[in-house]
């Protein structure tokens, strides 16, 4: 059975949804960040699958940028988590409500 880019797109969609569910359901903020990484990986899989089909390396170049942005976002996000933890001693996102009404 031929593996078409549609297969990769369905895989990417499923991984994306798993990431989104992780962001919406879990309350531990580190798990939420990891679910965001899952979402970014799903997007990368899609990009590279289509890059392979079109035999054009643009998809891979874009995926490299996505990885660079993910690294930057992870670094800053974890810095924020550490700074918040030092003040409030929690990583439960429901308790991070300093600016809520």
């Amino acid at each position: 059975m031929e593996i078409t880019p549609t297969h990769y797109m369905l895989l990417s969609a499923a991984l994306f949804i798993i990431g989104v569910v992780g962001v919406m359901v879990r309350r531990n903020i580190i798990i939420i960040f990891m679910s965001i990484e899952l979402i970014l990986n799903a997007v990368n899989i899609n990009l590279i699958a289509y890059s392979a089909q079109q035999q054009n390396a643009v998809g891979q170049v874009f995926a490299i940028f996505v990885i660079a942005v993910a690294a930057a976002e992870a670094a800053v996000g974890l810095g924020i988590i550490l700074a918040f933890y030092r003040n409030k001693e929690t990583i439960n996102i429901d308790e991070m409500n300093l600016m809520r009404w």
Partner: protein, 171 residues
């Protein structure tokens, strides 16, 4: 045939470990499942012929970003479990419903796309005489996409400074 078996096995592992990432109670186990997930995604990239990106995925994602997560998990060692009390205003079931709806929509788009023959996309300028995955990616990165490359390096520099400033004890 071999490609199909490899694809299904790797996809099953990717999705299985992803589900384990979001459902495990213990945070360190969740991080470890994430590492395994990224390793299998790298295997998928090799299957697609993007060897450079597979190596970069392992080097940056599995060997750099997730190590960062593991460090933070260990520095944040709590006396009480992190998800002890839940906010009553949180609507978890609505979240699941929305996710299922988006999945159905994405599946419908994929099914539609597989039936409609793809419009021939004019490929970008053929790289003169360069073969090999790494060489082609490098060529495009340094000629056609030079400005995004420089902006990405500025972004990483700013993120590095930002992370150091945020995580320092006294400034």
């Amino acid at each position: 045939m071999g490609t199909a078996i490899a694809f299904y096995f790797i996809s099953a592992c990717i999705l299985g470990f992803a589900v384990l990432v979001i459902t495990t109670k213990e945070t360190v186990h969740s991080v470890l499942f994430l590492v395994l997930d990224f390793l299998f995604v790298a295997a998928l990239y090799v299957l697609l012929g993007a060897q450079f990106l597979a190596a970069i995925q392992i080097l940056v994602y599995a060997g750099g970003i997730v190590v960062l997560y593991l460090f933070v998990v260990m520095l944040v060692n709590l006396k009480r479990p992190p998800e002890a009390h839940s906010d009553p205003r949180r609507k978890t079931k609505l979240g699941f419903g929305l996710a299922a709806a988006v999945l159905a929509e994405l599946g419908a788009v994929a099914a539609y796309a597989s039936k409609v023959p793809a419009r021939p996309i004019v490929p970008a300028a053929v790289v003169p005489g360069i073969t090999g995955n790494t060489e082609v990616v490098g060529w495009m990165l340094y000629t056609s996409y030079l400005i995004p490359f420089e902006i990405a390096s500025m972004l990483l520099l700013v993120a590095m400074i930002g992370a150091i400033v945020l995580a320092k004890r006294e400034l």
